[in-house]
Subunit: 200 residues, 2 copies
């Protein structure tokens, strides 16, 4: 008799997981966030509501998982920042890409939804830091360490502070829609940050 | 016969407005944000729900008004930043006060609620900029202009960029609970900002 733990079952489970996460992303992009419900996600994914609740306790948990899944790479693959030996050029490349990403309307609604959740839920904020921010920050810090060794940053630079001064202005400008997100802005952030922390 | 437009009526209206705004602030501080409803506010303020809806279209509008009311000063009184002639000392004083404010639990829940609303509502974001951020930014820029004239800032400094690099890291650290909010942190932000934009 068939039972529920074979490879077919695993494959089906993974397919249903992917369908749920895709449905979640599509709905968040298309609809006002308070209109996105677990019921709507289930219906769009073609699964029962209980299939979602068996895996995630709440709407915020599914939305969060849907965003996390976007940065799931191949196993063991970790984020690496460009290293041409020129810190300013490398940071400008990364910041221009980040600014463009925040300026993309689909990405915008998805990240706005996640931000609402983590701003009001300390546990989700901690999970976000652990699973998304920390690996990214580690990659950025590895690049900064090389630059410090090459004399392109002041010795003893506080990398957390540097990364906050580089990224937080962009994040706030995006969140509050308080100014344009342009390549010029990306460059200006890098230049000011390197005036603050750059070596001789 | 008494009618509804005399000075008594105005006074009653203003008292009920204040009661509603105080009830809103109290509830937001005491309860999870999704538990705060227009009904609960009306009941706490001792008014009918319609009294609230006559003045504000939604919960988010009342919450926003409740926070705005905190910065209502005496008529015509505008915000001014300290000016001892020493930009670094003045900015450290202001930033230490701001960090302490964000680290206060009552303030925290109130501003977190407002941030959730403005992150998801472009119109409210624009009103927030107009009524709260802009007057504060104008006061800060007046202080920066004096400093630029005194040679304490690079000529032609982009004040918007400077203010973002000074404040956005604190805002993001607070919003994402990603690090301690201390006087040392306030000072470090001022020092790095002045390395980026400070004159000779």
């Amino acid at each position: 008799m068939p039972h529920d733990a074979g490879p077919d079952h695993s494959r089906r489970k993974e397919r249903s997981r992917q369908a749920i996460l895709e449905a979640t992303r599509a709905l968040v992009v298309e609809q006002p966030y308070d209109k996105v419900t677990v019921e709507a996600i289930a219906s769009r994914a073609g699964v029962g509501k209980q299939t979602i609740y068996r895996r995630w306790p709440s709407k915020s948990a599914v939305v969060f998982a849907a965003v996390l899944a976007l940065s799931e790479g191949a196993d063991g693959q970790s984020v690496v920042l460009p290293d041409t030996g020129d810190l300013e050029a490398d940071l400008k490349q990364v910041m221009r890409a980040t600014v463009a990403e925040f300026d993309d309307p689909s990405f915008d609604r998805l990240i706005r939804a996640v931000n609402t959740e983590i701003a009001n839920d300390p546990d989700l904020a901690a999970e976000y830091r652990e699973k998304l921010s920390r690996p990214l920050d580690d990659a950025k810090k590895a690049r900064l360490r090389t630059a410090e060794r090459d004399g392109q940053l002041l010795p003893g630079t506080d990398f957390d502070l540097l990364l906050e001064m580089l990224y937080a202005p962009l994040f706030q400008r995006w969140l509050h829609r308080s100014g344009p997100l342009t390549p010029t802005y990306a460059d200006a952030l890098v230049e000011a940050t390197l005036r603050a922390f750059g070596g001789r």
